[in-house]
Symmetry: C2
């Protein structure tokens, strides 16, 4: 499904499940899937799918099961705070048919941090993990994420999400970082579409994307070349630049 | 699945399908689902799901069928340009098992615009529509989007996407705009989680979201109240503010 899937590394196909009404109602611009996409690309792993769903129990459970079955790993974002709309840990537990339990070690860490009197019902909610899950500890929060089966449960707050991803990034690294380079074509996409397609057909392990741009009133194109082999990327770039020069002459 | 789904208006549940490797590889930050979420919220329609998939034919077809069956309407974004990675119109045709054909009226419009000699293979690609689809004409592009069954096929370029959405927005308007208001709580979420949950339980048609914030080193909360009834939103806001004041005293 992606270049990374050609390797037999752990987690070569990855989906992200964003949970939160605030994204679907336009209150909040999605940031974590974007951050993860960039971070995973740099360690040689490309996202296969992103799903954004509301804080609705059945929809989270259904989507989580689908992604868990279709991909090597799933990262969820959001819904692990203390309030009524934070229902991700319960949904993950139900998706794997295990109970959601207070995690003794986390309760201890939180008691040491807040003091016993301040361990409110809300905070105790955040110390619950699906039975059998491993806590994901990061530098930015005392409340853990969770790893159960192939599902990584992360917070929605961007700096905590980033820190949690950082703490498990080794499991996503294929050992072959992706690279990309771009060409600004001073021609409309439609004028070089066929030639670009012919070049793409020559390379199974290089991905060529073409995106429309605009220079003043004139339509132009941006061509993006990506893959794991920097030398080959450079070679393809030169081939495309030569093709574009020839086009401009005609 | 959303407040809007309580009405019997057209398109009360809507999903968006974003198609493009550039989003999943972190090259481009997703913008169209975010724009649509805000625009639809303002006309009383909340998104039920967003899916982001790569430029892979089977994955687009599979996801489109799933969303088409589960929701009243689907909006797709991206993949309708002239290059090899623009495969959305073919995928939509295959999802509905109809041929992808050149659209005579569009060919005529493009011939008038570009002149017959400049109607390249790439441009002809952009004049194809799934058989039976209606072209979606907008102010920002000569190449049409398409409406087939309950699926709206839009461009990925943000200003064209926005213009195409604008041109069909009437079909998404429930006649009851959503509104939202927010409260900055000077307390951590965990301290008012239970009381907020009790207030939410009193209102089926008001949605209360709670999001963590931070004031210096102190964790705080942002409470978002939304719904179609402005008076009720204001009432709930006052009820929450009173609750927070009581909390702060204790």
């Amino acid at each position: 499904m992606s270049h990374a899937s050609q390797h037999t590394m752990p987690h070569h196909s990855v989906a992200i499940l964003i949970i939160g009404n605030e994204v679907l109602s336009g209150r909040t611009r999605e940031a974590n899937a974007w951050f993860a996409a960039k971070t995973l690309f740099d360690v040689g792993c490309k996202l296969s799918e992103v799903a954004i769903v509301p804080d609705i129990h059945e929809q989270i459970v259904f989507t989580l099961k689908r992604l868990h079955q279709n991909y090597d790993a799933v990262i969820t974002s959001g819904g692990i705070g203390p309030t009524h709309d934070d229902i991700t840990m319960q949904a993950v537990s139900d998706a794997f048919d295990v109970p959601l339990l207070e995690h003794a070690d986390t309760i201890k860490v939180m008691t040491d941090f807040y003091g016993e009197d301040a361990l409110t019902e809300g905070r105790r909610r955040m110390a619950r993990l699906p039975h059998g899950a491993k806590p994901i500890i990061c530098e930015q929060s005392i409340c853990p994420g969770a790893l159960i089966n192939n599902v990584y449960v992360f917070a929605g707050v961007p700096h905590i999400f980033a820190s949690q991803l950082e703490s498990v990034l080794g499991s996503f690294s294929t050992g072959k970082a992706f690279h990309r380079t771009e060409i600004e074509a001073n021609l409309p996409e439609s004028s070089f579409a066929r030639e670009l397609s012919d070049i793409q057909a020559q390379y199974a392990d290089i991905e060529i994307g073409s995106y429309p741009g605009r220079c003043g009133n004139k339509p132009t194109g941006k061509i993006c070349i990506s893959g794991t082999d920097k030398t080959k990327i450079e070679h393809v770039k030169q081939q495309i630049e030569t093709m574009l020069k020839d086009k401009q002459k005609t």
